[in-house]
Amino acid sequence: MSRLRYLGKRFLLSIPVVWLGASMTWFIIFMGPIDPASRLLSEGQLRNPAAYQAAETQLGLNQPPLQHYFDWMSSLLRFDLGQTWVLYEGSSVNALILDFLPRTLWLGLWSVLIAILIGVPLGFYAGMNSNTVADYVASLGGIVWRAMPNFWLAIILLAVLSTSPVLFGYRFEWETLFVSIDAISGSPDMTRIDTPDGFVAATKKVLPAALVLGSASMGNEMRIGRTAILEVRNEDYVDFAKAKGVSGRLLVWKHIFRNALIPLVPIITSEAFLLIGGSVLVETVFGINGIGQLFYQASVQGDLPLVGTLMYVFILMTVGINLLQDVLYTVIDPRVGLEGS
């Protein structure tokens, strides 16, 4: 099987996944014990049957369930996501997502990057120097880091940063470091991201949140990186390369690191999954107006149709990450997609 065919197959398999996920979402929201129409209305409106009926009609709930299901699915498919009811009442969902999504992506990007740039090298270092003090410190750090709840870490980090002059001396103040930002927490300004200053400011704004969000992944990637190095070091081909006379840096970079990256691919992507979930909490603590917080607000305030649509967006994102993982796999491991693997 060629690699392209492998990717094609993975793509085809992700279609039923999206379909199943969206169907479950529909079922939970529209067939669950809560009447989505009544949740949309305020106390006063509830007593007004006309208002209720209007809401029901708008949601299409007066149709037979099956009909409603097909309508809903087809509108998702066409990205005809309608408008909001409670949150930012009446605005188009598409516009809302386009407004909120970039901030979450920006945050997610940095948290993935931080995790990879710190976690993987640290794990490789620990693996190459296994059973030394440095290894133990790094491993223990990774494990504890992984066990800390994100939202708590976020609170503590915010407290530390806001008192940074007190803690680290008056020369270091996070708010004014490099470029000034208006507040430690809050949404990054995505409009000026194409200017150098704007880029740094937007980055600085999400960096603490990204550090928190990526913390657990960092610990995990470190751990897996360490194990992968230990495993690869014992492979026959490393011994064979040694016997060939390959030594020092070439042996480490070419024969050990490259192979140790392979088991890290699924870890990095599955961590990206978790980042999406974790974004709700971290965005709430840091006050970032991202799609995670939008989801949370919609749930709390009872805009269930919006919850469903956002869930669909999240499903597309996770499935997309999965496909990205497969692409990465085929790039990094020549065995993928061929018979016998």
Binding site: S2, R3, L4, R5, K9, L12, E339
Partner: protein, 440 residues
């Protein structure tokens, strides 16, 4: 020990009634379930064979030839794609549920790796009594007695009852495996490479045990192995398997003394050392290449791609062996190229003008045919093929196939009886118009 069956005569095996009659058995694996369009793997590709009561039948072949799949099908571990396995007139391939279990009660199976085939969280006692439990064999106490009896039978001690497989050596574990296979007093024992995971010094004891058991219990044995010396020692009859086909079946002494099929001959000749069972006059035959992928078996004789005695093409009967070889190699290379360049990415590359270098096909051809003095007509065909290979390797292949096709590439060989003991061999050279394999 248990009920003694009258030892049957060792002579006149041919007249013994068959226990199993296997007719045109085919087993295919289709793993590309939903998407993909690879043809299925033809693990067993039309095998017909009788297994006679009380005999030891050796089944030999290289890894991946389908011998294990075949033996597993006999206990219902694999399902047949087509064909039948007849026992007393019933077709095993159609059995299910209780009927299949009833047959499984009559068969015992011993597996290759005793490390793998014994559940290491169970004591030896539990392992051996499991078949008895599964078939609700009498009551608890009698089952225990039976296990002790079996332990004794295979040369283990009673205190081994409460030990775990980890505490045993490889040879002892295999004895446990044999005891388990014997638990339900089967009449037929399938031994799938029973000693190949053991050291030579331990092998001998297990083999001796098996021979004793057969003599005492009157068992029918199917002995699957890749080690021909071992098979010669234990088997009454031997079946040689290649790419899912039986190429030669016959009495052990005859088959080893005068192998009829080119594959059997090559296999025997490949055994190294002075203890090799190959007849001296066989000489050294080294096969080229590897067995073909069972997804894409050759259309004619399964062995044609490697056969040292392949019949030359009809159009060019005067080609020397060397020349024929060169053409065959050229075809093999083109075949590989055609397959590897059929993928999407390869055609993409070709369009972009990167990758697959046509230059080298030419080079190879030049090298292959250098120093050979091909007949002019043949040379012309080769030149044509080389030209068209630059743009379209598939067309070149087709041209070569029609021009230099041997009957071996075209006709699957039938079974030919090759001696007075009823030994059969599948090779077109047994046809009257060709020289016999041993004359090449």
């Amino acid at each position: 020990m248990t009920q003694a069956i009258e030892p049957q005569e060792t002579d006149g095996q041919e007249s013994r009634a068959p226990l199993l009659e296997i007719r045109n058995l085919q087993i295919q694996y289709d793993d590309s379930s939903l998407i993909g369009g690879d043809p299925p793997v033809r693990a067993v590709d039309g095998v017909s064979l009788d297994i006679r009561r009380g005999e030891t039948l050796g089944l030999v072949g290289e890894s991946g030839c389908g011998k294990t799949t075949f033996s597993r099908a006999l206990v219902g571990l694999e399902s047949a794609t087509s064909g039948e396995i007849l026992v007393d007139g019933t077709d095993l391939t159609e059995l299910e549920g209780p009927a299949l279990r009833e047959w499984q009660r009559r068969v015992g199976m011993v597996f290759q790796d005793p490390q793998e085939s014994l559940n290491d969280r169970m004591t030896v006692g539990e392992i051996i009594s499991e078949p008895l439990d599964a078939h609700d064999w009498q009551d608890q106490e009698e089952r225990e007695d039976r296990v002790f009896e079996l332990l004794d039978r295979v040369g283990l001690q009673e205190e081994h009852f409460y030990r775990y497989p980890h505490q045993f050596s490889g040879g002892q574990r295999q004895r446990v495996g044999i005891a388990r296979a014997l638990a339900l007093e089967p009449e037929f024992l399938i031994l799938d490479e029973p000693v190949s995971a053991l050291d030579v010094s331990v092998q001998a004891r297990v083999i001796n045990l098996l021979e004793e058991l057969q003599a005492d219990l009157g068992l029918t044995l199917l002995f699957v192995a890749h080690d021909l010396s071992l098979v010669r020692h234990v088997a009454d009859r031997v079946a040689v398997m290649y790419l899912g086909n039986l190429l030669e079946v016959g009495r052990t002494d005859r088959l080893f003394d005068a192998p009829a099929n080119p594959y059997t001959r090559s296999l025997l000749s490949a055994i190294p050392g002075s203890a090799s069972p190959a007849p001296d006059e066989l000489g050294e035959i080294t096969l080229r290449g590897t067995p073909p992928n069972p997804r894409y078996p050759p259309s004619g004789c399964p062995f044609a791609t490697r056969c040292p005695a392949k019949i030359p093409p009809e159009k060019y009967p005067d080609l020397s062996a060397e020349e024929f070889d060169a053409i065959e190699t050229f075809r093999a290379i083109l075949r590989e190229r055609a397959r590897s360049s059929s993928g999407v990415s390869a055609s993409l590359k070709r369009r972009l003008g990167i990758g697959t270098s046509v230059r080298t096909v030419d080079e190879i051809a030049t090298e292959l045919f250098a120093g050979l003095d091909l007949p002019p007509e043949a040379n012309e065909v080769i030149e044509d093929a080389r030209t068209s290979a630059r743009s379209d390797p598939a067309a070149a292949l087709e041209l070569l196939r029609t021009e230099f096709a041997s009957v071996c590439d075209r006709d699957p060989p039938a079974e030919y009886v090759v001696d007075d003991t009823g030994r059969t061999s599948r090779c077109l050279r047994h046809r009257e118009e060709y020289d016999d394999p041993d004359e090449i």
